[in-house]
Amino acid sequence: MTLFEAWLPVILPVIFALVMISVFMGMCAYAVLAERKICSYIQGRVGPNRTRLPLIGNVPILGDFLTGLGIFQPAADGLKFLFKEEITPGHVKLGYYYLAPIIALTPALTTMVVLPFGRYVDAAGVVQPLALANLDVGFLFILAISSLGVYGIVLAGWASNSKYPFLGAIRSSAQMISYELALGVSILPVFMWSAAPGSEYGMSLFGVVQAQETLWIGIWQPLSALIFLVAIFAETNRLPFDMAESETDLVGGFHTEYGAFKFGLFFVAEYAHIIMGSAIFVLLFAGGWHFLPGLADPWPAGPVGAVLSVLWFLAKIAFMIFFFIWIRWTLPRFRYDQVMSLGWKILLPLAVGNLVFNTLLIALIDAL
């Protein structure tokens, strides 16, 4: 018993981490399904509605309903990636070729560690964050790790040793580096307002969410929110910024030479980035798990309230994912140089101007 208690601090985080990864990967799988279903409805199609699991699928009404919704489709998609022939083109640089998909997915999973996804109010009324690790440097950690995601793409383009992936990788790396700047600058005002100097939270995301209890930051910092939103679209390589894939001219972009599960990893990584981007946007600008602006949280204290707060947070993320998908199937694609000029000539000056304005405002308030 004592041995178990001694090991508990080690075992519990591992269990939590495993649970979080499974939930997160499940969300990725269903984000793919959501993409396929929502794009179908936007385009006047039906979308996946055939995949059927033997037992549940044969339940009279429920089975047909779930099949029609395509609930079982992600399983089929995943299995397809696993069972496809593992083709490695002869001209690739082997080690890096296999490394690239892993590097693409890892940062998205790692940033998850510092992501608070709910809150727990104990009997004494003290609010605790629900997160694997509530780091004080929270957001810096996310910025640092998610920038590594570009290496997966660059490495894939280089290791493929082929022209189309090469072009895709170059475009994508230039794009991601440019937009990271605007992204980083755009969120500075948020932290300047939410964390006063010497406050206990620092750059932790939990502190930002707690600061939004009455009013979402997105409402009174719309410019920051807008710049951040555009930047995460670019960071996740989604249309209208999908320079890296750009399937009509670069075929598949950086993953042209990848097949089977290696492609699957890239595919999941894209959706993992979308979910992470949505989550961070919700945390920073849309009040995290807080109910609605101006309204007090209706969640009770204790575990029930904690679960409700998590569910509300997930609902907001789901809406953001829907937004991502909605935009993708509505807008045409930018050209590469237009993406760059938007990033450098419009977004970055805007973000810097926004930062300067907020700094002056805070200085003015302090002086008064």
Binding site: C39, I42, Q43, G44, R45, K163, L167, R171, L239, P240, D242, S246, E247, T248, D249, V251, W329, T330, L331, P332, R333, F334, R335, Y336, D337, Q338
Partner: protein, 412 residues
């Protein structure tokens, strides 16, 4: 053990002469196609890239060459109609009509008014079908997939109409020399009206999605601009020519099939860029809808084939089975082909992609001695090596999409 390594700096003077080359660096040769999502078929482009900018672009064609012109010499005129389906396979009905018109011009045969009206209907429905695909694919090339799906939904309805009319959704083979294969089915005109009533809202929706979309305008305006002179010099026809500001529409300028009786406008572009070509196609669909409405309102009664052309058009089945003379007529035309007098004729029709011309040489008998096809897509592609250099790599997709070519017609 000591080793010696010799390092030479080289002739500095010679290097200075090449300084510009060294700064500019190398260009990259990029092979696009013949199997590539942007080329819409089996076009191959040999491009040379300087960074992301194209410095050279050479189209390589012929991957879909089937020798249609030679094949035509070994068959009767009616047997060649299915081959015309496969020229511009997005508007097979219009090709069928153009071929039949060319042979009828050689035979100096005038088809009855009802037949002409049916053919106009076919041509305009084919134009709607082809332009819808052109707009949709253009949207897809610019990254707007939803537009493509919207237009494809409409084309599905159109294919159902074609199926009712001709028995085939795609390869229609509807015309015969001297008429059409069968009369229009009962109630079909009403269903065509339903379709054109439905296609206009879809066009409006596409308009909302693309026409004033900032990204779309940035991607297409000023891209791939063809000047008026170039358009004429390269022999462009159809929407690609009109987008450059040349007012040439064979339906207006050399009316055939009674096009002079219908009231419609010919839209003209100003700058000849990709955006103009898109706008032009959208407007042409609306004009085609106008023509279709007029045809439906005024379609005359009468025969759907030239009844007095006894040696050219094989009579309908019910007459063949009941009368001796028609049976013989049917037998002769089936075995020997429509009897066309010796001579030669060239006929051009305003097809969705441009002017599709057939030059028919006959030495009498049932088949052509020589057949030459003038495909508008072939001319549209010839301008690529002048048009593309200087643009970004990504612009290739938009330019190709806006030229709206079909390799089946280019390679023949």
């Amino acid at each position: 053990m000591a080793t010696t390594k010799e390092i030479s700096i080289g002739d500095l003077g010679a290097r200075a002469g090449k300084a510009e080359e060294e700064i500019n660096g190398e260009t990259m040769a990029l092979n696009i196609g013949p199997s590539h999502p942007t080329t819409h078929g089996v076009l191959r482009l040999l491009a040379e890239l300087d960074g992301d900018i194209i410095t050279k672009c050479e189209p390589v064609i012929g991957y879909l060459h089937r020798g249609d012109e030679k094949i035509a010499e070994n068959m009767t005129y009616n047997q060649f109609v299915p081959y015309t389906d496969r020229l511009d396979y997005l508007a097979p009905l219009a090709n069928n009509v153009a071929f039949a018109m060319a042979v009828e011009k050689l035979a100096a045969l005038e088809v009855p008014e009802r037949c002409q009206a049916i053919r106009v209907l076919c041509c305009e429905l084919a134009r709607v079908s082809s332009h819808l695909l052109g707009i949709g694919v253009f949207g897809m090339d610019a990254g707007a997939w939803t537009v493509f799906m919207y237009t494809f939904t409409e084309r599905e309805k159109l294919y159902t109409l074609f199926e009712e009319l001709t028995g085939a959704r795609f390869t229609t083979s509807y015309t015969r020399i001297g008429g059409v294969a069968r009369d229009i089915p009962e109630g079909w005109l009403g269903r065509v009206t339903d379709f054109i009533n439905g296609v206009l809202p879809v066009l409006d929706e596409i308009d909302k999605l693309l026409t004033r979309n900032r990204i779309f305008i940035d991607r297409t305006q000023g891209i791939g601009a063809i000047s008026r002179e170039d358009a004429i010099a390269y022999g462009l026809t159809g929407p690609n020519l009109r987008a450059s500001g040349v007012d040439l529409d064979l339906r207006k300028d050399k009316p055939y099939l009674g096009y002079e009786n219908y009231d419609f406008d010919v839209p003209i572009g100003t700058t000849g860029d990709c955006y103009d070509r898109y706008l032009l196609r959208a407007e042409e669909v609306r004009q085609s809808v106008r023509i279709i409405r007029q045809v439906i309102d005024t379609i005359p009664d009468g025969s759907f084939y030239a009844e007095d052309a006894k040696r050219i058009f094989s009579p309908p089945k019910d007459k063949v089975l009941t009368s001796m003379e028609e049976l013989i007529q049917n037998f002769m035309i089936t075995t020997e082909g429509p009897q066309i007098p010796a001579g030669e004729a060239y006929f051009e029709a305003e097809n969705p992609k441009g002017a599709l011309g057939f030059f028919v040489v006959s030495k009498g008998g049932g088949g052509p001695y020589r057949l030459k096809i003038r495909g508008p897509s072939f001319c549209s592609l010839s301008i690529l090596d002048k048009l593309v250099p200087g643009h970004y790599m990504t612009d290739i997709t938009v330019i190709l999409g806006s030229l709206d070519f079909v390799m089946g017609e280019c390679d023949r």
